[in-house]
Amino acid sequence: MTIDVRFRLRRGDFTLDIDLSLPEKGITALFGPSGCGKTTLLRAIAGLEGKCEGSLRIGNVPWQDERHFLPPHKRAVGYVFQEAGLFPHLSVRGNIAYGLNRVAKSERRISLERAVDLLDIGHLLERRPQHLSGGEAQRVAIARALAANPSLLLMDEPLAALDAARKREILPLLAALQRELSLPVLYVSHARDEIAQLADHLVLMEDGRVRASGALNSLFTRLDLGLSQGPETESVIEATVTGHDPEYALTYMDFPGGRFAVAHNGLPPGQKTRLQILARDVSLTLKRQHGTSILNIFPATVEEMRPDGPAQVTVRLLIGPVPVLARITRKSAVELGIEPGMSVHAQIKSVALLS
């Protein structure tokens, strides 16, 4: 099942021209600089941009085509705005019940209690929105959108107005939400860390158009997109906890290219995790090194290389089927004679657990 989006709309001298097919599960991030049309696209999907040329289909359900236009209140979306936008004349409970009350009883899958539990806001129910902090208000807004029992959740930079501490508090909730409810999410953001932590699928936007769309790591590791430049260049890998080594307090995590050993993290075997590997933490050797303190060494194939500044080169490797970026100096690349197609060993100095 897919979400098929095709829009063409003009706002002044800005044109949004989109033709996309997105997975109907997981979190899809719309990523790009301000003014690239992310929000306009989200609003058009919700029907808030008025009648515009295009078509929209969520799985089997058409929301819009050449002849039909479903008004916003008939689209099963949940919309979380950048500012919480709670109704000031209603209590927190009244806000969350607002959408729920307008959904037919037979179509309710998420109850008010469930939404409240997921966002952990039971203690706020009788409060007025004026008496909530920014983080609390945003959690209520997310619960309100969920309680409307959407078949598609739209989130427009829901964390942008929050400070770093509040962000760290809500991000894991969003990730958990995704695991609990099989609800497709379109998540607009220009914060790379949020996307690395949350997104399964990535849509890169530029000037009202889609520059690239694909699985998160496949786009992060493409050398032609600009995502692979700069200090935060990274690969994001899904892995599963497979066991622990009590003697050395290590945790083993398997991914399609092999097995990571990291400092014990207490996660139960079977737990799915997301690992971040910074390109600058990956070095290359021609032969497998012995006598090194680095634990995570994998055989790899060089796929593609691209200079990054005068001194450095970014290398895309394949470890098994998984693309991983390495950043090495141009001098090393020349001296080792590294070129596409070569077999090397990737030494990964550090692995961070994102979720």
């Binding site: 029907g47 008004p71 500012e83 109704f87 004349h89 607002y98 307008r102």
Partner: protein, 227 residues
């Protein structure tokens, strides 16, 4: 000297006139103000200027034109006569029509400001929460515009209480039919009956003051609700 039965009749007519005009103005003014507060029509200002006219026009001018319009020889009056009805000049319904025009800006302007202040955001949020346009209006726009409605109702009512020129022109001064309080006061003063004039004037002064006091106090409580 205490006020007499004619004064009492004038008081009742005044209250009836003010209540009825305010009710009609809220009914007509709400959709008009909703549209004015949200429309981006480029010639909207023309309509806004027309509605604001009674703020600056001498009431006698407004009354004069209404008399011409509604009188037996005016277009509306002639039409009514043609339909077998009485012309509206010098009747209570005529008075109501005059008051509605006269007090229009006092009702429409606060409502328009209140609706415009809500902005698109709460209404869009309501739309994404499955609320149809009417539903959004009733459950979001009206509650959020509550301070505007209070101001509009009280200003409309109080302003109609005090009208003089329009009433005199279009309603005449028929005791028990179209004689309102402000004209009764004028008559008492003309007849040098200052005691009665004091009773009525003082009463009107205190009543109007209390009304406005209530509005400002209540609006202070409501302002915490602004989005």
């Amino acid at each position: 000297m205490m006020p007499g039965s004619e004064d009492l009749a004038a008081l009742l007519i005044t209250l009836k006139l003010a209540a009825l005009s305010t009710a009609i103005l809220l009914l007509l003014g709400t959709p008009l103000a909703w549209w004015l507060g949200r429309s981006r029509w480029r010639y909207k200002f023309l309509l806004e200027a027309v509605i604001a006219l009674p703020l600056v026009l001498p009431p006698t001018v407004l009354g004069f034109y209404l008399l011409i319009l509604l009188g037996p020889n005016g277009p509306v009056g002639a039409l009514m006569q043609g339909l077998g009805a009485r012309p509206l000049a010098f009747t209570f319904p005529g008075l109501v029509i005059g008051s509605v025009f006269y007090s229009m800006p006092f009702v429409v302007q606060p409502l328009q400001t209140a609706f415009a202040a809500i902005g698109e955001k709460p209404l869009e949020a309501a739309a994404t929460l499955r609320a149809a346009p009417w539903d959004r209006f009733l459950t979001v726009a009206l509650p959020l515009a509550r301070p505007g409605f209070l101001t509009a109702a009280v200003l409309g009512f109080a302003h109609t209480l005090g009208e003089f020129g329009v009433v005199l022109m279009i309603g005449g001064n028929i005791p028990g039919v179209t004689q309102v309080l402000s004209i009764a006061i004028y008559d008492h003063v003309e007849a040098l009956e200052y005691a009665q004039a004091h009773w009525l004037s003082g009463g009107l002064l205190i009543f109007s003051f209390l009304l406005l006091l209530a509005v400002y106090a209540l609006n202070r409580r409501f302002t915490g609700l602004r989005p």
